[in-house]
Amino acid sequence: MTAHLPPPRIAAAPHTRTVFTVPRTMLTVIAALTPATLLGLYQFGWPAIFLFAVTLAAAWLFEIACLWVAGKPLAMFARDGSALLSGWLVAMTLPPYAPWWVGVIGAGIAIVIGKHLFGGLGQNLFNPAMVARAMLVIALPVQMTTWVAPVGLLQGPDLWQGLAITFAGAIDYDVLASASTLSAVKSQLGAGAAMADIAPGLAGLQDRLLGHVAGSLGETGTVLLALGGLVLVALRIITLAIPLSLLGTLSALSALFWLIAPDRYPSPLLHLTSGSVMLCAFFIATDYVTSPVSAAGKMIYGAGIGALVFVIRSWGSFPEGVAFAVLLMNACTPLIETYVRPRVFGRTRSGKPLPLVSGTGPGGRR
């Protein structure tokens, strides 16, 4: 009968599982990011493409090196896609004309410091891409704040010029530099201008939505990012809790202050469509490892990030506050996870068994 086949294995229940594995989840997220990435690469041209490739390659190589040093099984981990995703997100937050070594350093910080020093997959406290971005912004302010206008692949620098920009640093800053929306708003508000005067000089709403605005490599395609995020929600990879609470809190706070003093505070729409808020809401804040696990915890976390983004943008010294907001809330995640737990079946929120409702059943007999 079954004499030649191995006997059935004894293993604990359950004896079947979902098709979603770690690599599959990572690849799905990458797939959702691809449209916005392609838009950014197209708009910023060859230098962006080279920078992107260098960052991804560096991320992967650093991952293999760390796995080898840590003695972990290479075959399993090198193919799980998590390093690729971290490198992708780091690349998305870099200025498109940054030199290649900025990408490499960023990838190195993200993978080595942000992930493996904490213990590898699933053990990091802070979001690796945001750690890298924060460190780069503080250490290399010039390279990280040099924005260029998106002119498109065909009108921009050609292949050789692109190589020169990325690898040889041949950037003519005076000619190419252009301010991003947030940095323009911040510097002009700081100089005393009123919002009503600044607004005409900024890119219009349509431009901001479709990516015709200066910014990081992958953050400009607002609509595409939102669509990618909604696809992830539909596939149940992420829930709507964090994006809703983050965007909702940001909108509410910015609306409040804009209504009070429209001259000194940008409108909520400006906040939502500029900078890396959309990327953060759907792809960065929803990172599994660094966000709380319960639904209520996620709402608190998202609201915290939204509030901090608004605070840093309005009163902090950086035009874009997303990286720091995320890092600050990451630090709160273990606290949130400890105290905000789902309610256990049959118990109250404080853990005691539910009180018995005396007597009456649905028929109300007794």
Partner: protein, 193 residues
Amino acid sequence: MIAAATSMTALGLGLGLLLGIAARRFHVETPPVVDEIEAVLPGTNCGACGFPGCRGLAEALAEGAAPVSACTPGGRDVALQLAGIVDAGGGASDLAIGAMAETEALVAFIFEDHCTGCGKCFKRCPTDAIVGAAKQIHTVVMDACIGCDACIEVCPTEAIVTRSKPRTLSNWYWDKPPAGFGQIPQARTGGAA
């Protein structure tokens, strides 16, 4: 400068003297800990630790002359409680407990072919876990046996051995899943010992 040096020295000496007087004057006698230790021990006076009964081990522990892992029938639970009381410090307790792996409960088992019914084991058992009349085969009641090995030492025909307590269907459970990664989870079924 000399004034500074002398004044500092005088200050130091004076304060040191004060501290010494206070240490002598206000010294608190610690309550007898031997009774506390004895309460934790099993109280069967089996002698497996090598000290005269549980009281003897309690006194040795209070002095620090015995490691917290000395009581083998008590097992890891007793050792952990003792470490809480004795508090040798310096990590000696942790080392001793770490060496005691979480072992299965051990019980004695009498091979009936070799038993002559002499009754020496019966006299030695501290919990009366052996049953059997004179000249009849004796057997061990596993629920009462604490695994102290006293009976094994006196049996003239070496009919008694230590075995891990056999698992039954009612107390079987899955093994701890392997920590980490890289293996298809599969359990050793751990059948009857």
